[in-house]
Subunit: 429 residues, 2 copies
């Protein structure tokens, strides 16, 4: 073996190519993927999917509260676009976005009161995901920092890695409903490398809706420190108990170069499988740059944009009814979980998620155990361990994220299942 | 003014935040986008679009040979998916890809003879674009080099910048039909930073179809130097004069860790507006990594995948008819252009593009002039200046890319227009 080992070294050093093809094949140079590829985190939501599939194969009914893929119906007017389809071929659309869809988006933002926005301020993206990625690329060079708050939308982690950006997360606490810390705490986290602050409002995964004072504070910090302010407002319409949503769009004219709003059609119209979002800004350099990136990928989907362009025909009652439905679900979840000993849950203010503290030391193990071991009347539930929603290693070990995307009857049953499961689990572990 | 200037400096240095709000607004810190954003090239194809729009507003008919957006009909079986649509809501699909679509893709690759491929070797991407981007991220770290050949598919430039990768292009020549240079030329361009070789075969924008010897040579180079080999085979079916397409898939079992095939539905089924492609590899690390990236953007479009999954029902005659049609178009273009004095065009072997040398010193100016000044019977044509298809500055100045995506009558008329235009232009400039 020793001689073979030495032979290998020889080849590796001088890259000979006169070997016979057999030796050649045996000793061809090894190859490895980029080191950055292994840094892209796997989805903490989807990690447990194989266990759920196995449970279902056993005939177990699994309640899915693990992912924000709502059961709410897509507006019929959008489905009708498909039934009436008469375009052929299915060609590229424009790189900035389909003109009808852009006009519909302008109409939508005007309806919200932001009448200063024109379609030129909008870049259509392939899902909110692409808007996040484009924004990170645009505001920060590789190695620069983007400041955010954890628990955070887990895909911020993915896009930070993909764009070579360091995501620096300030930890927020269940005790304060995951609201923002004091200004000095945020300012202390700003370094010379910090280029932007990124928030999700209403927040996935915490359900927090930031107050006017909080948004004002971030605007002031962005001005003072010359930072971009990125506001992901995918759940804009879903705020509860009469709470107003304070959009960064309200401050966009005050800080036109700093403000970038990230948006998506997915949750607003139950269109998760239609991959469309927007990046909205008045910063001309950003708009020019993201259009160049958009040209690189040619266009967002033609059919998806034709569907979404009918948002102008979706009755206002649609959003109102969905909001009412989520409010009911939130109430059933919140009241139910509050009554389970050892469970902590701040009252969710918006979106359809909650970070819930459990009386367990390893929530990931508990979530897996729910799928592999726990059955009640041949049913169990799937929830997401919260550790993946933190950028800081070791955080969120006893927390889970619950998405209340099922009807109230199912939510009530899930609460019951969770209470029973925790009781059994505490005796076993 | 001097005192104000000094005051500014003071603010910038100590980041005071006790100023009155008026001064505050006046002196807030400046902000700039990431330097990398300005490096993303704007599309050379779409740059002239405003001039085309202006010409059309004047009532001029513009023949579009500038972009690979074919007029070929999408298979009816795919359009029928929309007419029969009954799913609601439109939820996320799976991150690797819709199971039916993955099965259809496996079926497709098996039909081509690559029966070793399983669906686990396939990552569904949002357009071929995402496959290119994922591949670059996966094989190279920021600052690493990917070797390719120019003229090149212009969006390789975009994705290189987005992924912080240095695209090193070896120039190929019209004289050799843009075929690959000798092995020693390619090997001389490999540095310690080189991680991969990227080809487009059949080639956009040159129409070159690489021979078996050329692909074999690249496989050997990849083995010898421990490089990834990325083959973009979007135009696989479109080779002419009985020429065989030599897919990298033929060598995938020989170099399972090195080979990555990039693919798209756009041109095969005239589905450009359906944003779907694939990344195919047997390298488990790559597959794991790209799935993690894919989870970050959740899924490709649900409706688009439902459409594309019916590829199993597209009759073989569809591709054959399309190939015949492109062959006719190619013939009309090639014979026509050959007869224009000073025009050089190697006979296109595949895809539906050609890099054409013109007797002009500044093809970009000429292409713009066609749109702004040249009219014949109130018609003109739009073609793409080729400089944007080179990574090397200064190359391709007297070349254009022509996409033969119109019917033969229109192509013949375009040849006539080009001949007339060159004659007029030569007297004016």
């Amino acid at each position: 073996m020793d001689s073979i080992y030495r032979f290998r070294l020889t080849i590796s050093e001088c890259e000979v190519d006169f070997l016979s093809s057999d030796l050649y094949n045996t000793y061809m140079k090894t190859i490895s993927v980029s080191s950055r590829l292994s840094l892209v985190p796997s989805s903490p939501i989807r990690k447990l999917v194989p266990y759920a599939i196995a449970a279902k194969k056993e005939g177990v009914h699994v309640y899915h509260l693990n992912i924000g893929d709502p059961d709410i119906k897509t507006p019929q007017v959008m489905i009708d676009v498909l039934k009436k389809w008469d375009r052929n071929p299915i060609g590229y659309d424009q790189s900035q976005g389909n003109p009808d869809f852009l006009e519909a988006l302008r109409w939508y933002y005007h309806k919200l009161g932001f009448t200063f926005l024109e379609s030129k301020h909008i870049q259509v993206t392939t899902g909110g995901s692409e808007a996040i990625s484009m924004a990170m690329f645009s505001v920060a060079n590789a190695g620069d920092e983007v400041l955010t708050f954890e628990p955070l939308y887990t895909n911020y982690n993915s896009y930070a890695v993909v764009n070579g950006v360091v995501l620096k997360a300030i930890t927020t606490s269940s005790d304060t409903g995951f609201h923002l810390p004091d200004r000095f705490v945020i300012e202390a986290a700003i370094s010379s490398k910090t280029k932007a602050i990124l928030i999700c409002n209403p927040n996935n995964p915490t359900g927090t809706v930031y107050t006017k004072d909080e948004i004002r504070m971030l605007v002031d910090i962005a001005k003072t420190h010359g930072l971009f302010l990125l506001s992901d407002e995918v759940y804009r319409e879903y705020t509860y108990d009469g709470r107003a949503h304070v959009s960064l769009l309200s401050y966009m004219q005050e800080i036109p170069d700093h403000a970038i709003v990230l948006d998506s059609m997915s949750k607003r119209y139950s269109l998760c499988g239609v991959r469309l979002g927007t990046l909205v800004t008045m910063n001309a350099s950003i708009l020019k740059g993201v259009l160049a990136i958009a040209q690189g990928r040619l266009s967002a989907g033609l059919i998806d944009q034709a569907i979404a362009a009918t948002l102008v025909d979706v009755p206002d009652t649609y959003i109102e009814e969905v909001r009412d439905e989520y409010t009911k679900r939130r109430d059933v979840l919140y009241e139910g979980l509050k009554s389970i000993p050892g469970v902590t849950i701040p009252k969710p203010e918006g979106a359809f998620y909650s970070i819930v503290g459990l009386p367990v030391s390893d929530a990931e193990h508990f979530c897996q155990w729910l799928l592999t071991d726990f059955r009640d009347n041949n049913e169990t539930l799937m929830i997401a361990p919260a550790a993946g929603f933190y950028a800081t290693a070791g955080k969120g070990k006893n927390e889970v994220r619950i998405a209340y995307v099922l009807n109230t009857t199912s939510i009530a049953r899930c609460v019951e299942l969770l209470a029973k499961a925790l009781s059994v689990y505490s005796k076993q572990v």
